[in-house]
């Protein structure tokens, strides 16, 4: 993982082409379920039988991670939580941890953000208040409690080591021909991209013009300077949502949360929703199983 700077905009054909860029064993940062998950790439990773991925939840993981874990693509997760939200616990995650198949590096939300902000600024660590007294500190050899060097009063404070993902992977509402992508108020995606060596983005629609030249759009843009490659994926977040475009498919997530409780149910789910062609998924309205 050497390249940091992407210069000329690079477009790939589809989510499958993005999945081909994610090597086995990569440290991949993913957003939470409510923040533009590149679900179509997740399915493509399952189909290409990716192995040994190390996932970073920024700051939590959900449906996409559970799918990858169940399909055997994941070696470890570093995250503050893995959950399907209202649809309950993440079943494949829970099973994999309880059976010892998955290593979890437990964190707490602001420590993930802090570790990424450290990389974003190019510093090796960043402090955070709180956390002291949590067993998380004992388990994390990469965190360190020090005396605040700016005071002579006793004042212990924890340092997060910089987190440096190999790959940032997410979905966006728009891309433009300059390679910029629009992420709206989901600024964690910007932080992930700033901190990662490579950033791959799927997008709903290509937009004409340069979004950075438009003062109204620009505040929600992630500049192409951070984007290694982008590819189209209409409804690419499904069954998760894209605000103003399609809502999270609660019925489908609830269905997943139920059937994936067993290995067999999960395999049937994969068969139905992942192994069948992507094109079918994208061209027809997403099915709901209530």
């Amino acid at each position: 993982m050497a390249d940091l700077a992407a210069n000329a905009p690079r477009f790939l054909a589809d989510a499958q082409a993005i999945a081909a860029q994610v090597p086995d064993g990569a440290f991949v940062a993913l957003p939470p379920d409510y923040s533009l998950v590149a679900a179509e790439v997740v399915r493509a990773l399952v189909r290409r039988r990716a192995r040994g991925l190390r996932l970073l939840g920024v700051p939590v993981l959900g449906y996409g991670a559970d799918l990858l874990i169940g399909a055997g693509c994941v070696e470890s997760v570093e995250t503050s939580a893995v959950s399907l939200g209202e649809a309950g616990p993440a079943p494949r995650f829970t099973e994999a941890v309880e059976s010892g198949a998955l290593r979890v590096v437990d964190s707490t939300c602001p420590m993930v953000h802090t570790g990424l902000q450290a990389t974003e600024k190019g510093v090796p660590f960043m402090p955070l208040r709180g956390v002291i007294g949590s067993d998380l500190v004992t388990e994390r050899s990469d965190w360190k409690v020090i005396q605040n060097p700016l005071t002579s009063e006793p004042d212990p404070i924890v340092l997060a080591a910089a987190i440096e993902p190999d790959i940032a992977l997410f979905h966006a509402r728009w891309a433009d021909r300059s390679g910029n992508v629009w992420i709206g108020r989901r600024r964690e995606l910007a932080t992930i991209a700033h901190a990662s060596r490579r950033t791959y983005v799927t997008y709903e629609e290509l937009r004409d013009g340069d979004m950075l030249e438009d003062e109204l759009l620009a505040p929600g843009v992630l500049s192409s300077v951070y984007v290694t490659a982008a590819a189209p994926a209409a409804r690419g977040a499904w069954p998760l949502g894209v605000v103003d475009l399609y809502a999270i498919d609660d019925a489908h997530l609830a269905h997943y949360g139920r059937v994936a409780r067993t290995r067999e149910g999960f395999e049937r789910y994969l068969e139905e929703f992942v192994w069948r062609s992507t094109r079918e998924r994208n061209s027809s309205p997403a099915p709901s199983h209530a």
Partner: protein, 240 residues
């Protein structure tokens, strides 16, 4: 007395616990705290409510980091924590116990320190949840002298009772039992030791006015962010 759902009693109790506050933040999967906040707003309180997982019209523009920064700045008055285990020192465990894995600590290890008050909330009231000592401390209820801490536990609300946190004694005190539950049952179902208020009060039930708000504007509001919950409690379907 009006008929009410247990969730409605709990939401009204949470609303009373919030009391005077400028800014309340509600984290993941917290429909009852969210309902309590919506009730206070429907009552016309000048409360600011930040729902971390609000799906549309999310209050944040800095992504999921902003809630934690807000708390770090001292701008969050009340936060909520649920947990798989809670002990008598107000420690919370969201990670693992007895071979079982839970979702994880979320922001607890920070928010419990940075918010001015934290209301612990867990519907299940059992020796499995309310333990003598948590198997894993996601976030401690009490910090050593010299450790920075802006706030800590205010109360623990379960499906059976309300406990107040006594900061000076670093222990809970049983404040009230919900209708249908009594002191002996609560003692039997609580794995940790706590102080008693004698005589034990009964948790106030929702008023007709509260119920009218809950079933009208509050239910509509909640259905948008917690569709499953709204359907279960009020038979409401999420707006598209």
């Amino acid at each position: 007395m009006a008929e009410y759902a247990r969730e409605e009693l709990l939401a009204c109790t949470v609303a009373r616990l919030i009391g005077e506050a400028a800014h309340v933040a509600v984290g993941a999967a917290s429909p009852i705290p969210a309902t309590a906040c919506a009730l206070l707003l429907a009552q016309g309180r000048p409360l600011r409510v930040s729902l971390l997982h609000k799906r549309a019209g999310n209050p944040f523009t800095e992504g999921s980091r902003e809630l934690f920064d807000l708390a770090g700045q001292g701008r969050i008055d009340v936060f909520f924590l649920g947990a798989a285990q809670i002990d008598g020192r107000a420690n919370v465990n969201l990670v693992r116990a007895g071979g079982r894995r839970f979702p994880g600590s979320f922001g607890s290890a920070f928010m419990y320190f940075a918010a001015r008050r934290t209301i612990l909330f867990r519907e299940e009231h059992s020796p499995r949840v309310l333990v003598p000592k948590v198997d894993f401390v996601s976030a401690p209820g009490v910090s050593a002298a010299g450790v920075w801490r802006r706030g800590g536990p205010q109360a623990l609300l379960t499906g059976m009772a309300l406990f107040r946190w006594q900061a000076e004694r670093t222990r809970f005190r049983l404040e009230s039992a919900h209708p249908g539950h009594d002191s002996a049952e609560i003692r039997a179902r609580t794995g940790f030791d706590y102080d008693l208020a004698e005589p034990l009060a009964s948790t106030p039930t929702p008023s007709a006015g509260e119920l009218a708000l809950l079933r009208g504007p509050v239910a509509r509001e909640i259905a948008g962010n917690y569709p499953e919950f709204a359907r279960r409690v009020w038979g409401r379907v999420a707006p598209v």
